[in-house]
Protein backbone atom coordinates (compact mmCIF):
# COMPACT_ATOMS: atom_id res chain seq x y z
CA UNK A 1 0.00 0.00 0.00
CA UNK A 2 2.86 2.31 0.93
CA UNK A 3 4.67 1.78 -2.37
CA UNK A 4 1.43 2.05 -4.37
CA UNK A 5 0.75 5.37 -2.67
CA UNK A 6 4.19 6.67 -3.72
CA UNK A 7 3.57 5.55 -7.28
CA UNK A 8 0.19 7.28 -7.42
CA UNK A 9 1.81 10.48 -6.18
CA UNK A 10 4.54 10.06 -8.81
CA UNK A 11 1.94 9.67 -11.60
CA UNK A 12 0.03 12.70 -10.32
CA UNK A 13 3.19 14.85 -10.23
CA UNK A 14 4.27 13.61 -13.68
CA UNK A 15 0.92 14.53 -15.22
CA UNK A 16 0.94 17.87 -13.39
CA UNK A 17 4.45 18.68 -14.63
CA UNK A 18 3.63 17.50 -18.14
CA UNK A 19 0.49 19.62 -18.13
CA UNK A 20 2.43 22.76 -17.28
CA UNK A 21 5.18 22.30 -19.84
CA UNK A 22 6.33 25.36 -21.79
CA UNK A 23 4.95 26.14 -25.26
CA UNK A 24 6.64 23.92 -27.83
CA UNK A 25 6.63 20.86 -25.60
CA UNK A 26 4.85 17.84 -27.04
CA UNK A 27 1.80 16.21 -25.53
CA UNK A 28 2.17 13.27 -23.13
CA UNK A 29 2.16 9.95 -24.99
CA UNK A 30 0.55 7.09 -23.10
CA UNK A 31 1.05 3.45 -24.07
CA UNK A 32 0.37 0.25 -22.22
CA UNK A 33 0.22 -3.51 -22.37
CA UNK A 34 -1.21 -6.43 -20.48
CA UNK A 35 -0.55 -10.12 -20.97
CA UNK A 36 -1.78 -13.33 -19.36
CA UNK A 37 -0.07 -16.64 -19.78
CA UNK A 38 -0.41 -20.26 -18.76
CA UNK A 39 2.43 -22.67 -17.97
CA UNK A 40 2.31 -26.45 -17.70
CA UNK A 41 5.06 -29.03 -17.27
CA UNK A 42 4.74 -32.80 -17.56
CA UNK A 43 7.48 -33.30 -14.92
CA UNK A 44 9.12 -30.97 -12.37
CA UNK A 45 8.07 -27.46 -11.44
CA UNK A 46 9.65 -24.65 -13.38
CA UNK A 47 9.39 -20.93 -12.53
CA UNK A 48 5.96 -21.47 -10.94
CA UNK A 49 3.88 -24.41 -9.72
CA UNK A 50 3.67 -25.73 -13.25
CA UNK A 51 3.27 -29.42 -12.43
CA UNK A 52 -0.49 -28.83 -12.12
CA UNK A 53 -0.48 -25.90 -14.56
CA UNK A 54 -0.25 -22.29 -13.49
CA UNK A 55 -1.84 -18.99 -14.47
CA UNK A 56 0.65 -17.15 -12.27
CA UNK A 57 2.29 -15.78 -15.36
CA UNK A 58 1.28 -12.27 -16.34
CA UNK A 59 2.73 -8.84 -17.01
CA UNK A 60 1.27 -5.38 -17.36
CA UNK A 61 2.69 -1.93 -17.85
CA UNK A 62 1.74 1.61 -18.70
CA UNK A 63 4.13 4.32 -19.77
CA UNK A 64 4.11 8.08 -20.15
CA UNK A 65 6.62 9.98 -22.27
CA UNK A 66 6.83 13.59 -23.29
CA UNK A 67 9.35 15.73 -25.13
CA UNK A 68 9.88 18.74 -22.89
CA UNK A 69 12.01 20.43 -25.53
CA UNK A 70 13.84 19.62 -28.75
CA UNK A 71 16.58 17.92 -26.72
CA UNK A 72 14.96 16.79 -23.49
CA UNK A 73 12.56 13.85 -23.07
CA UNK A 74 10.98 12.61 -19.83
CA UNK A 75 9.41 9.19 -19.46
CA UNK A 76 8.43 6.51 -17.01
CA UNK A 77 6.80 3.09 -17.07
CA UNK A 78 4.90 1.42 -14.26
CA UNK A 79 5.04 -2.32 -14.35
CA UNK A 80 3.70 -5.34 -12.51
CA UNK A 81 4.26 -9.00 -13.11
CA UNK A 82 3.59 -12.36 -11.57
CA UNK A 83 5.67 -15.45 -12.18
CA UNK A 84 5.13 -18.02 -9.48
CA UNK A 85 6.44 -16.50 -6.26
CA UNK A 86 8.12 -13.59 -8.06
CA UNK A 87 6.47 -10.21 -8.59
CA UNK A 88 3.01 -11.01 -7.24
CA UNK A 89 1.55 -8.14 -9.29
CA UNK A 90 3.21 -5.49 -7.16
CA UNK A 91 3.46 -2.23 -9.10
CA UNK A 92 7.02 -0.98 -9.55
CA UNK A 93 8.73 1.67 -11.63
CA UNK A 94 10.12 -0.26 -14.58
CA UNK A 95 12.01 2.65 -16.09
CA UNK A 96 11.91 6.36 -15.42
CA UNK A 97 14.42 8.73 -16.91
CA UNK A 98 15.30 12.09 -18.34
CA UNK A 99 17.04 11.87 -21.70
CA UNK A 100 19.14 14.71 -23.01
CA UNK A 101 20.09 14.55 -26.69
CA UNK A 102 23.24 16.42 -27.61
CA UNK A 103 24.53 14.93 -30.84
CA UNK A 104 24.08 11.66 -32.71
CA UNK A 105 27.23 10.35 -31.04
CA UNK A 106 26.66 11.66 -27.51
CA UNK A 107 23.46 11.59 -25.46
CA UNK A 108 22.66 11.18 -21.79
CA UNK A 109 20.04 9.35 -19.74
CA UNK A 110 19.67 9.55 -15.97
CA UNK A 111 17.20 7.77 -13.72
CA UNK A 112 15.99 4.19 -13.47
CA UNK A 113 17.32 2.52 -16.61
CA UNK A 114 17.41 -0.85 -18.32
CA UNK A 115 20.86 -2.43 -18.23
CA UNK A 116 22.73 -3.13 -21.46
CA UNK A 117 22.68 -6.88 -22.02
CA UNK A 118 22.75 -8.79 -25.30
CA UNK A 119 20.52 -7.90 -28.22
CA UNK A 120 17.15 -8.50 -26.59
CA UNK A 121 17.25 -7.48 -22.92
CA UNK A 122 15.45 -4.25 -23.79
CA UNK A 123 12.34 -6.15 -24.86
CA UNK A 124 12.17 -8.65 -22.00
CA UNK A 125 9.22 -7.15 -20.20
CA UNK A 126 6.84 -7.18 -23.12
CA UNK A 127 6.74 -10.48 -24.95
CA UNK A 128 4.65 -9.15 -27.88
CA UNK A 129 7.88 -7.61 -29.20
CA UNK A 130 9.34 -11.03 -29.96
CA UNK A 131 8.25 -14.37 -31.39
CA UNK A 132 8.82 -16.66 -28.42
CA UNK A 133 7.19 -16.38 -25.01
CA UNK A 134 10.46 -17.08 -23.19
CA UNK A 135 13.79 -15.78 -24.38
CA UNK A 136 16.45 -18.54 -24.35
CA UNK A 137 17.36 -19.22 -20.72
CA UNK A 138 21.04 -19.85 -21.48
CA UNK A 139 21.51 -16.10 -21.94
CA UNK A 140 18.31 -14.54 -20.61
CA UNK A 141 17.79 -16.40 -17.35
CA UNK A 142 14.19 -15.68 -16.32
CA UNK A 143 15.09 -15.71 -12.61
CA UNK A 144 17.77 -13.05 -13.06
CA UNK A 145 15.53 -10.78 -15.09
CA UNK A 146 14.88 -8.23 -12.36
CA UNK A 147 18.57 -7.94 -11.51
CA UNK A 148 19.74 -7.25 -15.06
CA UNK A 149 16.75 -5.26 -16.09
CA UNK A 150 16.81 -2.26 -13.81
CA UNK A 151 19.59 0.01 -12.62
CA UNK A 152 19.42 3.39 -10.97
CA UNK A 153 22.16 5.39 -12.62
CA UNK A 154 23.48 7.27 -15.57
CA UNK A 155 24.03 6.25 -19.17
CA UNK A 156 25.88 7.73 -22.13
CA UNK A 157 24.82 6.48 -25.53
CA UNK A 158 25.01 7.37 -29.18
CA UNK A 159 25.52 6.33 -32.76
CA UNK A 160 28.74 6.66 -34.72
CA UNK A 161 28.36 6.53 -38.49
CA UNK A 162 31.24 4.62 -40.05
CA UNK A 163 30.44 5.36 -43.70
CA UNK A 164 30.99 2.25 -45.81
CA UNK A 165 31.54 0.16 -42.64
CA UNK A 166 27.98 0.71 -41.40
CA UNK A 167 27.31 2.25 -38.00
CA UNK A 168 27.94 1.50 -34.34
CA UNK A 169 25.55 2.17 -31.47
CA UNK A 170 27.19 2.31 -28.07
CA UNK A 171 25.78 2.38 -24.55
CA UNK A 172 27.84 2.81 -21.38
CA UNK A 173 26.31 2.82 -17.95
CA UNK A 174 27.06 2.96 -14.27
CA UNK A 175 24.35 2.36 -11.72
CA UNK A 176 23.04 0.57 -8.69
CA UNK A 177 20.96 -2.54 -9.37
CA UNK A 178 17.54 -2.56 -7.71
CA UNK A 179 17.22 -6.07 -6.30
CA UNK A 180 14.49 -6.61 -3.74
CA UNK A 181 14.47 -9.50 -1.28
CA UNK A 182 11.46 -11.08 -3.01
CA UNK A 183 13.03 -10.82 -6.45
CA UNK A 184 13.76 -13.66 -8.84
CA UNK A 185 17.48 -12.97 -8.43
CA UNK A 186 17.28 -13.78 -4.71
CA UNK A 187 15.18 -16.88 -5.37
CA UNK A 188 17.69 -17.98 -8.02
CA UNK A 189 20.61 -17.63 -5.59
CA UNK A 190 18.66 -19.69 -3.06
CA UNK A 191 17.69 -22.40 -5.54
CA UNK A 192 21.02 -22.74 -7.33
CA UNK A 193 23.16 -22.35 -4.20
CA UNK A 194 21.14 -24.65 -1.96
CA UNK A 195 20.56 -21.83 0.56
CA UNK A 196 17.49 -21.93 2.80
CA UNK A 197 17.01 -18.17 3.07
CA UNK A 198 18.79 -14.94 2.22
CA UNK A 199 18.72 -12.14 4.77
CA UNK A 200 20.73 -9.41 3.03
CA UNK A 201 22.13 -8.61 -0.38
CA UNK A 202 24.61 -5.82 -1.04
CA UNK A 203 25.59 -4.70 -4.52
CA UNK A 204 28.37 -2.33 -5.50
CA UNK A 205 27.77 -0.15 -8.53
CA UNK A 206 27.43 -2.04 -11.78
CA UNK A 207 29.40 -0.92 -14.83
CA UNK A 208 28.06 -1.93 -18.22
CA UNK A 209 28.85 -1.30 -21.88
CA UNK A 210 27.34 -2.54 -25.10
CA UNK A 211 28.34 -2.05 -28.73
CA UNK A 212 25.99 -2.93 -31.57
CA UNK A 213 27.58 -2.85 -35.02
CA UNK A 214 25.19 -2.63 -37.96
CA UNK A 215 27.50 -4.11 -40.58
CA UNK A 216 27.63 -3.21 -44.29
CA UNK A 217 26.09 -6.63 -44.99
CA UNK A 218 22.39 -5.82 -45.09
CA UNK A 219 20.53 -7.29 -42.12
CA UNK A 220 23.60 -8.35 -40.09
CA UNK A 221 24.12 -6.93 -36.60
CA UNK A 222 26.92 -7.93 -34.26
CA UNK A 223 26.85 -7.03 -30.60
CA UNK A 224 29.13 -7.28 -27.58
CA UNK A 225 28.17 -6.63 -23.94
CA UNK A 226 30.42 -6.32 -20.90
CA UNK A 227 29.20 -5.95 -17.30
CA UNK A 228 31.31 -5.65 -14.14
CA UNK A 229 30.12 -5.73 -10.53
CA UNK A 230 30.77 -6.95 -6.99
CA UNK A 231 28.12 -8.46 -4.75
CA UNK A 232 27.80 -9.85 -1.25
CA UNK A 233 24.91 -11.75 0.25
CA UNK A 234 24.16 -13.28 3.61
CA UNK A 235 21.92 -16.21 4.26
CA UNK A 236 21.21 -19.36 6.20
CA UNK A 237 22.11 -22.80 4.93
CA UNK A 238 21.52 -26.21 6.44
CA UNK A 239 23.59 -29.37 6.48
CA UNK A 240 21.67 -32.63 5.94
CA UNK A 241 24.23 -34.34 8.23
CA UNK A 242 23.13 -32.05 11.08
CA UNK A 243 19.32 -31.80 10.85
CA UNK A 244 17.85 -28.67 12.43
CA UNK A 245 21.19 -26.82 12.43
CA UNK A 246 21.21 -23.36 10.89
CA UNK A 247 24.53 -22.35 9.33
CA UNK A 248 25.01 -18.60 8.78
CA UNK A 249 26.64 -18.08 5.39
CA UNK A 250 28.25 -15.10 3.68
CA UNK A 251 29.12 -15.22 -0.01
CA UNK A 252 31.37 -12.49 -1.36
CA UNK A 253 31.45 -12.30 -5.15
CA UNK A 254 34.35 -10.24 -6.45
CA UNK A 255 35.16 -9.17 -10.00
CA UNK A 256 31.93 -10.58 -11.38
CA UNK A 257 32.13 -10.12 -15.13
CA UNK A 258 29.51 -11.00 -17.68
CA UNK A 259 30.09 -10.93 -21.44
CA UNK A 260 27.54 -11.60 -24.15
CA UNK A 261 28.54 -12.00 -27.78
CA UNK A 262 25.62 -11.73 -30.19
CA UNK A 263 24.86 -11.86 -33.89
CA UNK A 264 21.58 -11.36 -35.72
CA UNK A 265 20.83 -11.69 -39.40
CA UNK A 266 17.54 -10.64 -40.97
CA UNK A 267 16.73 -11.48 -44.58
CA UNK A 268 13.17 -10.67 -45.56
CA UNK A 269 10.89 -12.66 -43.27
CA UNK A 270 13.74 -14.83 -41.99
CA UNK A 271 15.56 -14.00 -38.78
CA UNK A 272 18.59 -15.87 -37.44
CA UNK A 273 20.29 -15.09 -34.17
CA UNK A 274 22.87 -16.56 -31.85
CA UNK A 275 24.31 -15.43 -28.53
CA UNK A 276 27.05 -16.74 -26.27
CA UNK A 277 27.12 -15.97 -22.54
CA UNK A 278 30.23 -15.81 -20.37
CA UNK A 279 30.28 -15.30 -16.61
CA UNK A 280 33.45 -15.02 -14.53
CA UNK A 281 33.84 -14.24 -10.85
CA UNK A 282 35.86 -15.00 -7.71
CA UNK A 283 33.57 -16.27 -4.94
CA UNK A 284 34.40 -16.66 -1.29
CA UNK A 285 31.83 -18.45 0.87
CA UNK A 286 32.23 -18.20 4.64
CA UNK A 287 30.10 -20.57 6.71
CA UNK A 288 29.99 -20.19 10.49
CA UNK A 289 29.28 -23.42 12.31
CA UNK A 290 28.07 -22.95 15.87
CA UNK A 291 28.53 -25.94 18.16
CA UNK A 292 27.09 -25.52 21.66
CA UNK A 293 29.82 -25.10 24.28
CA UNK A 294 32.56 -24.46 21.69
CA UNK A 295 33.88 -21.46 19.75
CA UNK A 296 32.25 -20.95 16.34
CA UNK A 297 34.17 -22.57 13.48
CA UNK A 298 34.54 -20.61 10.26
CA UNK A 299 34.75 -22.68 7.11
CA UNK A 300 35.97 -20.65 4.11
CA UNK A 301 35.68 -21.93 0.55
CA UNK A 302 37.05 -20.12 -2.53
CA UNK A 303 35.60 -20.83 -5.93
CA UNK A 304 36.38 -19.33 -9.33
CA UNK A 305 33.26 -19.20 -11.48
CA UNK A 306 33.93 -19.65 -15.17
CA UNK A 307 30.93 -20.19 -17.44
CA UNK A 308 31.66 -19.97 -21.15
CA UNK A 309 29.66 -22.81 -22.65
CA UNK A 310 26.19 -21.26 -22.53
CA UNK A 311 24.68 -20.25 -25.84
CA UNK A 312 21.67 -20.45 -28.09
CA UNK A 313 20.93 -20.41 -31.80
CA UNK A 314 17.53 -19.47 -33.17
CA UNK A 315 15.65 -19.24 -36.41
CA UNK A 316 12.39 -17.39 -36.94
CA UNK A 317 10.19 -16.98 -39.98
CA UNK A 318 7.03 -14.98 -40.62
CA UNK A 319 4.84 -17.10 -42.86
CA UNK A 320 2.09 -14.55 -43.27
CA UNK A 321 1.08 -11.18 -41.96
CA UNK A 322 -0.53 -12.88 -38.95
CA UNK A 323 1.64 -15.96 -38.35
CA UNK A 324 5.25 -16.27 -37.26
CA UNK A 325 7.13 -19.30 -36.00
CA UNK A 326 10.52 -19.68 -34.37
CA UNK A 327 12.74 -22.44 -33.08
CA UNK A 328 15.70 -22.15 -30.77
CA UNK A 329 18.20 -24.50 -29.20
CA UNK A 330 19.59 -23.21 -25.93
CA UNK A 331 22.19 -24.81 -23.68
CA UNK A 332 23.18 -23.57 -20.24
CA UNK A 333 26.05 -25.12 -18.32
CA UNK A 334 26.40 -24.09 -14.70
CA UNK A 335 29.71 -23.59 -12.87
CA UNK A 336 31.17 -26.59 -11.09
CA UNK A 337 29.48 -27.26 -7.78
CA UNK A 338 31.25 -28.22 -4.57
CA UNK A 339 31.20 -31.87 -5.65
CA UNK A 340 32.83 -30.95 -8.97
CA UNK A 341 29.68 -31.53 -11.03
CA UNK A 342 28.07 -29.20 -13.53
CA UNK A 343 24.32 -28.80 -13.97
CA UNK A 344 22.91 -28.33 -17.46
CA UNK A 345 19.70 -27.23 -19.04
CA UNK A 346 19.19 -27.92 -22.74
CA UNK A 347 16.08 -26.38 -24.20
CA UNK A 348 14.60 -26.98 -27.67
CA UNK A 349 11.75 -24.54 -28.11
CA UNK A 350 9.21 -24.18 -30.90
CA UNK A 351 6.99 -21.09 -30.81
CA UNK A 352 4.04 -19.90 -32.83
CA UNK A 353 2.90 -16.32 -32.76
CA UNK A 354 -0.46 -15.15 -34.10
CA UNK A 355 -0.99 -11.41 -34.65
CA UNK A 356 -4.76 -11.30 -34.39
CA UNK A 357 -4.76 -7.56 -35.09
CA UNK A 358 -2.31 -4.71 -34.35
CA UNK A 359 -3.34 -4.80 -30.66
CA UNK A 360 -3.79 -8.50 -29.82
CA UNK A 361 -1.12 -11.20 -29.99
CA UNK A 362 -1.52 -14.89 -29.08
CA UNK A 363 1.37 -17.33 -28.68
CA UNK A 364 1.83 -21.04 -28.17
CA UNK A 365 5.10 -22.71 -27.38
CA UNK A 366 6.56 -26.08 -26.45
CA UNK A 367 9.96 -26.74 -24.86
CA UNK A 368 11.71 -30.09 -24.91
CA UNK A 369 13.98 -29.86 -21.86
CA UNK A 370 16.98 -31.90 -20.85
CA UNK A 371 18.54 -31.11 -17.48
CA UNK A 372 17.75 -29.95 -13.98
CA UNK A 373 19.37 -26.54 -13.73
CA UNK A 374 16.93 -24.03 -12.19
CA UNK A 375 14.33 -26.78 -11.90
CA UNK A 376 12.24 -27.36 -8.79
CA UNK A 377 10.94 -30.80 -7.71
CA UNK A 378 7.46 -31.79 -8.85
CA UNK A 379 4.57 -31.98 -6.42
CA UNK A 380 5.72 -35.45 -5.32
CA UNK A 381 9.25 -34.21 -4.56
CA UNK A 382 10.95 -35.76 -7.60
CA UNK A 383 13.07 -34.10 -10.27
CA UNK A 384 13.52 -35.50 -13.76
CA UNK A 385 16.14 -34.86 -16.43
CA UNK A 386 13.82 -35.10 -19.43
CA UNK A 387 10.69 -33.00 -19.27
CA UNK A 388 8.42 -30.75 -21.30
CA UNK A 389 7.25 -27.19 -20.72
CA UNK A 390 4.18 -25.86 -22.52
CA UNK A 391 3.35 -22.16 -22.53
CA UNK A 392 0.52 -20.07 -23.92
CA UNK A 393 0.17 -16.34 -23.71
CA UNK A 394 -2.13 -13.61 -24.92
CA UNK A 395 -1.15 -9.95 -24.96
CA UNK A 396 -2.88 -6.67 -25.62
CA UNK A 397 -1.11 -3.36 -26.18
CA UNK A 398 -2.04 0.14 -27.18
Amino acid sequence: MHRSCHILIFVFVFILVAGSLPAGAEEVNVHGFISQGYLQTNQNNYLAETDDGSFQFNEMGINFTTAVSDRLTLGCQFFARDLGDVGNDEIVINWAFAEFEYKNWLNLRVGTLKGPFGLYNDLRDFDALRTSIFLPSSVYNEWLRDGLNKLKGIELFGTVILGPLGLVQYQTMVGQPLISMDSGTVKFIQTSGGIDSISAIENDDVYGARLIWTTPLTGLRICGTYIYSNMLYKGIASDPRMPGTEIPLTVDTKNAQVCVFSAEYIYGDLKLSAENYWALSDNTATATINIPGKDPIENIVHQDIDVKDSYYVSIGYRFAEQIEAAFYYSEYVSPEGIQGTKEKLKDQCLSFRFDINPFWVAKLEAHVMDGKFGVLPDNDGHTYNEWMLYAAKMSYSF
Binding site: H31, L129, I323
Partner: protein, 146 residues
Protein backbone atom coordinates in the same frame (compact mmCIF):
# COMPACT_ATOMS: atom_id res chain seq x y z
CA UNK B 1 12.16 -37.46 -27.31
CA UNK B 2 13.06 -37.73 -31.02
CA UNK B 3 9.37 -38.18 -31.84
CA UNK B 4 8.50 -34.90 -30.11
CA UNK B 5 11.20 -33.13 -32.10
CA UNK B 6 9.79 -34.57 -35.34
CA UNK B 7 6.31 -33.37 -34.39
CA UNK B 8 7.70 -29.88 -33.97
CA UNK B 9 9.34 -29.96 -37.42
CA UNK B 10 6.13 -31.23 -39.04
CA UNK B 11 4.12 -28.46 -37.36
CA UNK B 12 6.60 -25.91 -38.64
CA UNK B 13 6.30 -27.24 -42.20
CA UNK B 14 2.50 -27.36 -42.04
CA UNK B 15 2.47 -23.71 -41.12
CA UNK B 16 4.55 -22.92 -44.22
CA UNK B 17 2.20 -24.93 -46.47
CA UNK B 18 -0.88 -23.24 -44.96
CA UNK B 19 0.28 -19.80 -45.88
CA UNK B 20 2.37 -20.40 -48.98
CA UNK B 21 0.05 -18.31 -51.13
CA UNK B 22 1.01 -14.95 -49.70
CA UNK B 23 -0.10 -11.88 -51.63
CA UNK B 24 2.75 -9.88 -53.10
CA UNK B 25 3.15 -6.12 -52.83
CA UNK B 26 0.58 -4.43 -55.08
CA UNK B 27 2.37 -1.09 -55.45
CA UNK B 28 4.21 -1.22 -58.77
CA UNK B 29 5.66 2.31 -58.71
CA UNK B 30 8.80 3.69 -57.10
CA UNK B 31 9.18 5.78 -53.96
CA UNK B 32 11.47 8.72 -53.27
CA UNK B 33 12.82 10.15 -50.03
CA UNK B 34 11.75 13.74 -49.43
CA UNK B 35 12.57 16.27 -46.72
CA UNK B 36 11.95 19.81 -45.64
CA UNK B 37 14.07 22.11 -47.85
CA UNK B 38 15.99 23.39 -44.79
CA UNK B 39 17.62 20.05 -43.90
CA UNK B 40 21.41 20.10 -44.36
CA UNK B 41 21.60 17.18 -46.80
CA UNK B 42 21.32 16.94 -50.57
CA UNK B 43 21.49 13.18 -50.99
CA UNK B 44 21.12 10.13 -48.73
CA UNK B 45 22.19 6.55 -49.42
CA UNK B 46 19.86 3.71 -48.36
CA UNK B 47 22.12 2.98 -45.37
CA UNK B 48 21.55 6.50 -44.02
CA UNK B 49 17.82 6.30 -44.73
CA UNK B 50 17.80 2.95 -42.93
CA UNK B 51 19.61 4.43 -39.89
CA UNK B 52 17.23 7.40 -39.73
CA UNK B 53 13.98 5.45 -40.07
CA UNK B 54 15.06 2.78 -37.57
CA UNK B 55 15.76 5.52 -35.02
CA UNK B 56 19.55 5.01 -34.89
CA UNK B 57 20.35 8.44 -36.36
CA UNK B 58 18.35 11.11 -34.53
CA UNK B 59 19.86 14.40 -35.73
CA UNK B 60 20.91 16.04 -38.97
CA UNK B 61 24.54 17.14 -39.41
CA UNK B 62 23.67 20.61 -38.01
CA UNK B 63 22.20 18.84 -34.89
CA UNK B 64 18.60 19.69 -35.78
CA UNK B 65 16.22 16.93 -34.68
CA UNK B 66 15.06 14.55 -37.41
CA UNK B 67 11.26 14.29 -37.58
CA UNK B 68 10.20 11.02 -39.20
CA UNK B 69 6.94 11.12 -41.12
CA UNK B 70 5.30 7.87 -42.26
CA UNK B 71 2.77 7.40 -45.06
CA UNK B 72 -0.34 5.52 -44.01
CA UNK B 73 -0.78 3.98 -47.47
CA UNK B 74 0.33 0.35 -46.93
CA UNK B 75 1.57 -0.17 -50.48
CA UNK B 76 3.75 2.95 -50.51
CA UNK B 77 4.97 2.16 -46.97
CA UNK B 78 5.94 -1.39 -47.89
CA UNK B 79 7.64 -0.33 -51.13
CA UNK B 80 9.64 2.22 -49.11
CA UNK B 81 10.62 -0.34 -46.47
CA UNK B 82 11.69 -2.86 -49.08
CA UNK B 83 13.85 -0.39 -51.02
CA UNK B 84 15.44 1.62 -48.21
CA UNK B 85 14.97 0.02 -44.79
CA UNK B 86 15.27 -3.65 -45.83
CA UNK B 87 12.66 -4.65 -43.28
CA UNK B 88 9.13 -5.98 -43.53
CA UNK B 89 6.25 -3.84 -42.23
CA UNK B 90 5.97 -6.05 -39.13
CA UNK B 91 9.69 -5.85 -38.36
CA UNK B 92 9.62 -2.06 -38.81
CA UNK B 93 6.57 -1.73 -36.60
CA UNK B 94 8.24 -3.89 -33.93
CA UNK B 95 11.32 -1.65 -33.86
CA UNK B 96 9.12 1.34 -33.01
CA UNK B 97 6.97 -0.64 -30.59
CA UNK B 98 10.18 -1.61 -28.82
CA UNK B 99 11.15 2.07 -28.63
CA UNK B 100 7.63 2.89 -27.42
CA UNK B 101 7.83 0.40 -24.55
CA UNK B 102 11.39 1.25 -23.55
CA UNK B 103 10.91 5.02 -23.77
CA UNK B 104 13.60 5.40 -26.43
CA UNK B 105 13.33 7.51 -29.56
CA UNK B 106 10.42 9.69 -30.56
CA UNK B 107 7.55 7.97 -32.26
CA UNK B 108 7.18 8.91 -35.97
CA UNK B 109 4.33 11.08 -37.18
CA UNK B 110 1.90 9.42 -39.62
CA UNK B 111 0.00 11.19 -42.41
CA UNK B 112 -3.00 9.82 -44.26
CA UNK B 113 -2.59 11.30 -47.75
CA UNK B 114 0.03 12.70 -50.12
CA UNK B 115 -1.36 16.20 -49.65
CA UNK B 116 -1.27 16.03 -45.83
CA UNK B 117 2.22 14.54 -45.84
CA UNK B 118 3.60 17.15 -48.27
CA UNK B 119 2.02 19.96 -46.29
CA UNK B 120 3.49 18.67 -42.99
CA UNK B 121 7.00 18.07 -44.37
CA UNK B 122 7.15 21.44 -46.12
CA UNK B 123 6.19 23.25 -42.88
CA UNK B 124 8.18 21.18 -40.35
CA UNK B 125 11.86 21.83 -39.72
CA UNK B 126 13.90 18.63 -39.92
CA UNK B 127 11.07 16.50 -41.37
CA UNK B 128 11.85 13.53 -43.62
CA UNK B 129 9.42 11.20 -45.38
CA UNK B 130 8.78 9.22 -48.56
CA UNK B 131 6.21 9.41 -51.31
CA UNK B 132 5.45 7.95 -54.71
CA UNK B 133 7.93 9.14 -57.35
CA UNK B 134 5.00 10.20 -59.54
CA UNK B 135 3.93 12.99 -57.19
CA UNK B 136 4.81 16.56 -58.16
CA UNK B 137 6.44 18.35 -55.22
CA UNK B 138 5.95 21.96 -54.14
CA UNK B 139 8.95 24.33 -53.59
CA UNK B 140 9.20 23.74 -49.79
CA UNK B 141 10.42 20.16 -50.24
CA UNK B 142 13.59 18.58 -51.57
CA UNK B 143 14.31 15.06 -52.82
CA UNK B 144 17.11 13.23 -50.98
CA UNK B 145 16.96 9.88 -52.75
CA UNK B 146 15.13 8.56 -55.79
Amino acid sequence: MKMKFKIMIVAFMLCEVMVSGRISNAFAGDVMIIANKEVPAEHLGWEEVNGIFLGKIMRWSNDDRIIIVLHSNDDIHEAFLKKYVKRTATQFSNVWRQNMFTGKGRIPVEKNSDAELIDYVSKTKGAISYISSDVTLPPGIKVLAK
